[in-house]
């Protein structure tokens, strides 16, 4: 064996044995019970509703960008919830374990979580929130909205899109199963080096982390490629670069950032895995290894990654604010330039995450200035949004509330970001909860934008509105929670409180920790209202049906031209673009969507279970590598390679939906009915359309500029 680690190893099960299922821990036991009950209930419900067939045909095997987008969002929201529970647990531990006299429960010296459990929770929280919650939600939103905004039938590579999704799902699965089989990493979402080395983390936790993020980052790289190509190649005729909605600009910028930075992370984690599996010394302290190399590589990805998540959020704000101000976006060109500039500068600032490593003042000064430069385009954006409101007619619908609060948070996060970017300040707050408060302010900008986006585009995708009353309550509680929790956290930063401590040695920190706990209670209430909002909206979906294509009445971009819910073919007729805000232009010129005499046949890709199968094998690969079941790893790797090669030989003829069928669907939309099978039923699947004929792709090329 190349490396040594404690514990037994058998050829068949690797490091896995029955003891690795930590059911003696009451927290994990009850989580396990709850998750199992929930899982059984869901499976039973699907069976009861006889939904397996349609679930399989319409969702699991779908290559439709809207369905994949919805699945991405669902995955992200589920993980958001998981990450949130982690957050509640951490806050509770920190509120309890204050001072040497605080009591301990369940094996902990203080509080209820021993250090090794607390370490896993915050590592899982960070990894999940950034990579498996926010990122999937954003990729999902881009998936749904980008093709609609540029008037395309689908993404450039529908099959690749499904592969990205299922790889993300596989990675998420790995994180989730680490709850019940073995342990998760304790070395933070950043994978603190050399703590991640086998000598200091001999368990399987770091392996779970590394394979999950590895698979997840490959998936995101693929998604970035897809979005870039889609935006460059698939814009509707007439949509020049300067007529493209800002959300697409940010999606483009973010995907370029993603494509160029995620591979660095992949490489860094691969080298770390070599250290852990093959006994190399890339990042070890001794024998020629360089642990700061890991830190460098990580942040060369890590910083762009945080911009990867903020840019689409900026795009979302740039869509919501004009709609509810009844005005076009102020300074469109500036906004587009700023989006690209933020992406560009994000490349040259990574060292600000370790100003304290003892680099010379010249190095720190350079990266300090570079970091502050990011503030310029960000400031420009804020001013432009402000001037969008100027002389507008501002309505405070739920999406707008989220967007405006995001703006406020952005200002606060920008201020603290500019503080952190000064090394002399950074020395006093680096690795303290001040940093945690900074990036939670910023990531809450993203979160708020996502909630805004969900409220904003939900009617477009599902054809009915989300309930307004509960939505507003959720908003107010969430905002209050954010300000109470992170306000206290900033103050604790000035007290010098380090991040990631499971025991609080100084009782003077207690009052603010209790305030944070109050904040988390507000979040709990907010999530109750969020769930209620969804339940109420689904219950009242018939009253909340959307009959027009534009629910808000003042939306501006192309996605509001087509029906709600969007039919599987997106646009019955390829739209031609006349103006920057195409839908607003058409509304003002009294023109809706074209309704021609004769509908063309529409050609669409065929559904395929292959991405799901690839995802399943990838999960098996990750799981077997974690437990060092090398036979299974080899088998899964071979299966993946064979499947990928086999697929490349397979012709995807696509299928054609005849014009007559399109006419039927369009007619029923116009009669105010939700047409059977337009949004759902086997969209994209040849089975669902008896009249559909398989044809060669070149017969009827999907819309291209």
């Amino acid at each position: 064996m190349l490396v040594s680690y404690p514990g037994p190893w058998t050829p068949f099960f690797g490091r896995l044995d029955a003891q690795q299922i930590p059911l003696q821990n009451p927290i994990l036991f009850w989580t396990f019970v709850l998750v199992s009950l929930g899982g059984v209930a869901v499976l039973a419900a699907i069976t009861y509703l006889r939904a397996w067939g349609s679930l399989w045909r319409e969702w699991l095997t779908s290559v439709d960008h809207k369905k994949i987008g919805v699945m991405y969002c669902l995955l992200g929201i589920v993980m958001l919830f998981r990450g949130f529970i982690d957050g509640v647990m951490m806050r509770t531990q920190q509120a309890m374990a204050v001072g040497p006299r605080s009591p301990g429960y369940m094996g902990a010296l203080h509080g209820y979580l021993p250090p090794y459990h607390f370490g896993q929770i915050y590592s899982a929280h960070g990894t999940i929130m950034i990579l498996f919650a926010i990122t999937p939600i954003l990729v999902g939103l881009m998936n749904i909205i980008v093709p609609l905004q540029i008037g395309a039938r689908d993404m450039a590579y529908p099959y690749l899109n499904a592969v990205s999704f299922w790889l993300t799902a596989a990675a998420t699965g790995l994180v989730m199963i680490s709850l019940f089989v073995g342990d998760f990493s304790h070395a933070g979402w950043v994978g603190l080096s050399p703590l991640t080395e086998l000598a200091y983390s001999p368990g399987v936790g770091v392996d779970y982390w590394s394979w999950a993020v590895q698979i997840g980052s490959i998936a995101t790289t693929l998604a970035s490629i897809n979005i870039i190509v889609t935006i460059i190649k698939m814009r509707a005729p007439g949509m020049t670069w300067t007529k493209m909605p800002i959300f697409c600009w940010t999606a483009l910028s973010t995907s370029v950032v993603g494509l160029s930075s995620f591979p660095v992370f992949t490489a860094a984690v691969a080298l770390l895995s070599l250290d852990r599996y093959a006994g190399t010394h890339f990042f070890t302290p001794g024998l020629g290894g360089n642990l700061m190399l890991y830190t460098d590589l990580f942040w060369i990805w890590g910083h762009p990654e945080v911009y990867y998540v903020i840019l689409p959020a900026f795009g979302i704000l740039s869509e919501i604010i004009p709609t509810f101000s009844e005005k076009p976006l102020f300074g469109y060109i500036t906004m587009a330039v700023a989006s690209i500039a933020i992406g560009g500068v994000s490349w040259s600032v990574w060292l600000h995450h370790f100003f304290t490593m003892g680099a010379g003042p010249g190095v720190n000064a350079f990266f300090s200035i570079a970091s502050m430069l990011v503030g310029i385009p960000t400031g420009v954006k804020v001013f432009n949004w402000a001037f969008t409101l100027y002389r507008g007619r501002v309505r405070f619908d739920v999406p707008m509330l989220w967007a405006l609060a995001a703006l406020v948070l952005l200002l606060i996060g920008g201020l603290t970001g500019m503080m952190l970017a000064m090394p002399a300040i950074n020395y006093t707050v680096h690795n303290s909860v001040f940093v945690v408060a900074h990036f939670h302010t910023m990531l809450n900008v993203v979160g708020f934008a996502c909630f805004g986006a969900i409220n904003y585009w939900f009617p477009k995708v599902f054809g009915f509105r989300l309930d307004e009353r509960t939505g507003k309550r959720a908003f107010w509680f969430f905002s209050a929670g954010t300000f109470v929790l992170f306000g206290s956290m900033y103050a604790l930063g000035f007290m010098g409180m380090p991040r990631r401590i499971d025991y609080i040695p100084f009782p003077s920190w207690r009052p603010l920790l209790i305030a944070e706990e109050v904040g988390i209670v507000l979040f709990v209430i907010a999530s109750y209202y969020m769930i209620k909002q969804l339940v109420v909206s689904i219950r009242d979906r018939v009253q909340n049906r959307v009959t027009s294509s534009d629910v808000w009445g003042t939306a501006r971009s192309l996605e509001w031209l087509t029906h709600s819910p969007v039919p599987f073919y997106n646009f019955a007729v390829q739209p031609h673009i006349n103006a920057r805000d195409e839908w607003a232009w058409r509304r003002e010129h009294g023109r809706g969507a074209e309704s021609p005499e004769h509908y063309e046949d529409i050609h669409l890709p065929i559904n395929t279970p292959l991405p799901l199968i690839l995802g399943a094998w990838t999960f098996a690969l990750g799981f077997s590598l974690v437990w060092r079941m090398y036979w299974l790893a080899a088998l899964s790797l071979i299966a993946i390679v064979v499947l990928v090669i086999a697929r490349s030989f397979q012709d995807d003829p696509g299928h054609t939906v005849p014009g007559a069928r399109i006419r039927e669907i369009e007619a029923s939309y116009r009669n105010g009915l939700e047409p059977a099978g337009a949004a759902g039923d086997g969209a994209g699947g040849p089975v669902a359309y008896p009249g559909a004929v398989a044809s060669r792709p070149q017969d009827n090329v999907p819309a291209r500029p």
């Binding site: 514990g7 821990n25 994990l28 250090p115 304790h186 070395a187 933070g188 703590l195 000598a199 200091y200 001999p202 368990g203 302290p285 001794g286 024998l287 642990l291 101000s325 005005k327 300074g331 469109y332 500036t334 304290t356 003892g358 010379g360 003042p361 720190n364 000064a365 300090s368 200035i369 502050m372 430069l373 400031g379 420009v380 949004w385 402000a386 001037f387 409101l389 100027y390 002389r391 507008g392 007619r393 501002v394 406020v408 606060i412 920008g414 500019m418 970017a421 000064m422 002399a424 300040i425 020395y427 006093t428 707050v429 690795n431 000035f494 010098g496 990631r500 401590i501 040695p505 003077s508």
Partner: protein, 339 residues
């Protein structure tokens, strides 16, 4: 600290400090620096917050004002959807952030040099002009406590302390005095203290909020830090970078004493029976959670121990963390707790 427009900073302070002072005097360590470096860092913070605060308030104010004025219900206000571009505003929205960032960059560079852990200029200034060094915020804020000089700051020979972190304790070596301690750092007030730092295992971060900002401590490498403490007292130091199960307990007290007392303390440590050899260090470096911050003293230190630790780590020496002390959930943690 010698800002050229230190006066402006001092004036601006009045706008800002009462806010935080109002909250609580106790516990906000960064707001009440007791060391030259920490004070420079706090000055920089105040300046940055004031400048950025103005920008943020203007931007936020604009948003709020526009929201109020142009709310849909307010039909008296002009509605003009064609107002989507304006050269003057464009120049302003790019120009103002540019100027602000330019201004802050200048200060950032200055303060980087002032607090550079390897050779902090603010210490030099403090040594050259002790009377000015004290005109910082904290002392001006409470004239009653003001002391015009940093006592002993003229001292030529700085005190040298070598810091080695283990899992999860601090070893402080005083090579000039030939003594060492675990988890006890004592320095004389007003004296320049130079630290050399390394780790035997994973990365830690050396931080004494009231005295000096952070510097990473990395295995197989040497980093440096320097400080002057202005006031006698007991301060808290701890690791600020997660290093495993015992991280939360990785604290130590920093006792800043007058010179006589420091000498007395050195004599006491010299009387300790224990001696710090490399072998003894190996015992200390075994993963230990020093829950009660129990200190140990060593009357002698093997010569070159600090360098030896670095060299051994570079040559591949690792102090493994046992499975039961990492993220292992199945077997309860067996920790060497020092009661």
């Amino acid at each position: 600290m010698a800002w050229r427009n230190g006066h402006a900073v001092r004036v601006l302070r009045f706008a800002w400090l009462p806010l935080l002072d109002g909250c609580s005097q106790k516990g906000y360590w960064l707001l009440h620096p007791k060391g030259v470096i920490a004070r420079t860092e706090w000055h920089t913070t105040v300046l940055d917050v004031v400048v950025m605060g103005v920008v943020v308030l203007v931007a936020g104010g604009l948003v709020v004002a526009f929201l109020w004025r142009y709310r849909a219900g307010n039909t008296l206000r002009r509605y003009d959807p064609t107002f989507t571009a304006s050269l003057v505003l464009e120049i302003l929205v790019w120009g103002v952030p540019l100027l602000v960032v330019g201004y802050l960059s200048y200060f950032s560079v200055k303060s980087v040099f002032a607090t550079n852990p390897y050779d902090p200029l603010s210490l030099r200034h403090a040594l050259v002009r002790p009377h000015q060094a004290d005109q910082g915020l904290a002392h001006r804020a409470s004239p009653a406590r003001a002391r015009t000089t940093v006592p002993g700051a003229q001292e030529a020979q700085p005190l040298h302390v070598e810091v080695v972190t283990t899992d999860w304790q601090w070893v402080f070596i005083y090579p000039q005095q030939g003594i060492a301690t675990v988890d006890d750092l004592v320095v004389p007030v007003g004296a320049r203290v130079k630290f050399d730092l390394t780790s035997a295992t994973v990365v830690n971060d050396f931080f004494i909020p009231e005295l000096v900002g952070e510097i990473d401590i990395m295995p197989g490498m040497r980093t440096k830090q320097a400080m002057i403490a202005n006031d006698t007292g007991v301060y808290h130091g701890y690791s600020d970078d997660f290093s495993g199960g015992g991280f939360s307990w990785m604290g130590f007290d920093v006792r800043v004493t007058d010179h006589a007392e420091f000498r007395k303390w050195v004599r006491r440590v010299r009387a300790a029976p224990d001696v710090l050899s490399y072998a003894r260090f190996g015992q200390i470096a075994r993963p230990t959670i020093n829950v009660a911050q129990r200190v140990s003293y060593f009357s002698q230190v093997q010569k070159g121990l600090f360098d030896h630790v670095i060299e051994r780590v570079m040559a591949g020496k690792v102090y493994r963390t046992p499975l039961a002390m990492t993220e292992n959930m199945t077997k309860p943690m067996k920790v060497r707790l020092i009661p």
